[in-house]
């Protein structure tokens, strides 16, 4: 199963949650920082390889049903995590049934 289906954060990426709910990710391999909004921090929280993209999108989207664009934001965030190399592949056995 590819990380695109069950996103899982790279364990070496350091996460610093700031008091205002936003978050800084530090990638020690690329020596790059990534600033996340509060929504981004929440989506990053989900990326442990046990929850699918669809489930993350649906669950975060359900928080604010009156904001339909939130689902698009979640999808874009997951795409960004992947394209920035912040996720790893997850085998099918390791995820929740």
């Amino acid at each position: 199963m590819l990380h695109e289906d069950f996103p899982r954060r790279r364990p070496d990426v350091e996460t610093h949650v700031l008091p205002d709910g936003t978050c800084l990710l530090f990638d020690p391999l690329a020596l790059q920082g990534h600033a996340l909004s509060a929504v981004g921090a929440l989506v990053w929280d989900y990326c442990d390889g046990t929850v699918s993209r669809a489930e993350i999108t649906n669950e975060v989207g359900s928080l604010l049903p009156e904001v339909p664009q939130l689902r698009d934001e979640v999808i874009q965030l997951l795409d960004r995590f992947a394209s920035d190399g912040l996720l790893v592949a997850v085998s099918g056995e390791s995820r929740r049934a």
Binding site: D20, A41, Y46, E59, L64
Partner: protein
């Protein structure tokens, strides 16, 4: 990070909690009964029985099946996700106050402690780490009455400091200096939070403005400040956006020019600083009655 094992059961939430801070109505909804009770204790002086239909600021605490923590939504925006119940309460106690003070139009807000002693009302303006809370608790133990610990509200247009009975946030050092714990309650069973039982009963105009700092290389000492210097320090301690800070300039100048005395106090040794403040307040109190 999430410690996700099995999907959680989402408990039904109880009725919203309504609070009123500096004229701002804040509603917190979605808490479990236990968390609501604990937050209610933390915010008890501000809790109202008002309807939750109208709120200037609204927090929704949400739980969803595949996330082990709490997700806080404020006025329709995701603000924070928190895994730990203690951190959730701490965050809400802070955020509710901060957001209310961000939008209040009835008060100017300063990062300062304030206490009364006889007829004197002393404002201690200082940055974090200067020892406001430690000094405030020490002065309470000596009979001073608190108006505020960390954040002082100055009523507009009377320029009186409003009693603001918010919990003190104390570290181990401050707690270890409290020789009479019965003067304080520990609401919400939250570590590091306590609140004096007794507060100054009414708002009062500041008579002494103190710019407090902590220079450990110098002795505790007090130096007189000009009104302009005091106004500058008070303004520097104002909290709020640009529009609010424009108003804070006028308030800082008015408060400083109407005070009986203004001082710069270095807080190195606690007992010596307490002595200095008592001298300053006693002089101001005698001047006020004389």
């Amino acid at each position: 990070m999430l410690a996700r094992s099995t999907p959680q059961t989402v408990s039904p939430a109880c009725q919203p909690l309504s609070v009123q801070i500096a004229g701002v109505a804040v509603v917190i909804e979605g808490l479990s009964l236990e968390l609501r009770q604990r937050l209610c204790e933390l915010l008890r002086p501000f809790v109202t029985a008002c309807s939750d239909e109208y709120a200037d600021v609204r927090f929704e605490v949400k739980r969803v099946p595949k996330h082990t923590g709490w997700i806080i939504v404020q006025n329709g925006e995701v603000r924070q996700s928190i895994q730990d119940a203690e951190k959730l309460l701490s965050y809400l106690e802070w955020c509710v106050v901060a957001q209310a003070l961000e939008v209040t139009s009835t008060h100017a807000v300063f990062h300062a402690a304030a206490l009364t002693y006889g007829d004197a009302t002393v404002v201690l303006a200082a940055e974090s780490g200067a020892g406001k809370t430690t000094l405030t608790t020490s002065l309470i133990l000596r009979g001073w009455l608190p108006l505020a610990d960390d954040i002082s509200l100055v009523r507009l247009p009377t320029l009186e400091v409003q009693p603001f009975p918010r919990c003190f946030h104390t570290d181990d050092f401050t707690s270890s200096n409290i020789t009479t714990p019965s003067l304080f309650e520990r609401p919400g069973a939250l570590a590091g939070y306590m609140r004096p039982h007794t507060w100054a009963p009414t708002p009062s105009r500041p008579t002494c403005i103190i710019r407090l700092e902590r220079d450990t290389h110098s002795d505790s000492a007090a130096y007189p400040l000009t009104r302009a210097e005091a106004a500058g320090y008070l303004f520097a301690a104002s909290i709020g956006n640009l529009a609010r800070r424009a108003s804070a300039v006028r308030v800082a100048v008015a408060v400083a020019t109407s005070a009986q005395s203004c001082w710069h106090v270095n807080n190195n040794r606690l007992s010596e600083t307490v002595g200095l403040l008592e001298q300053i307040a006693a002089t101001a109190s005698a001047d006020a009655t004389g």
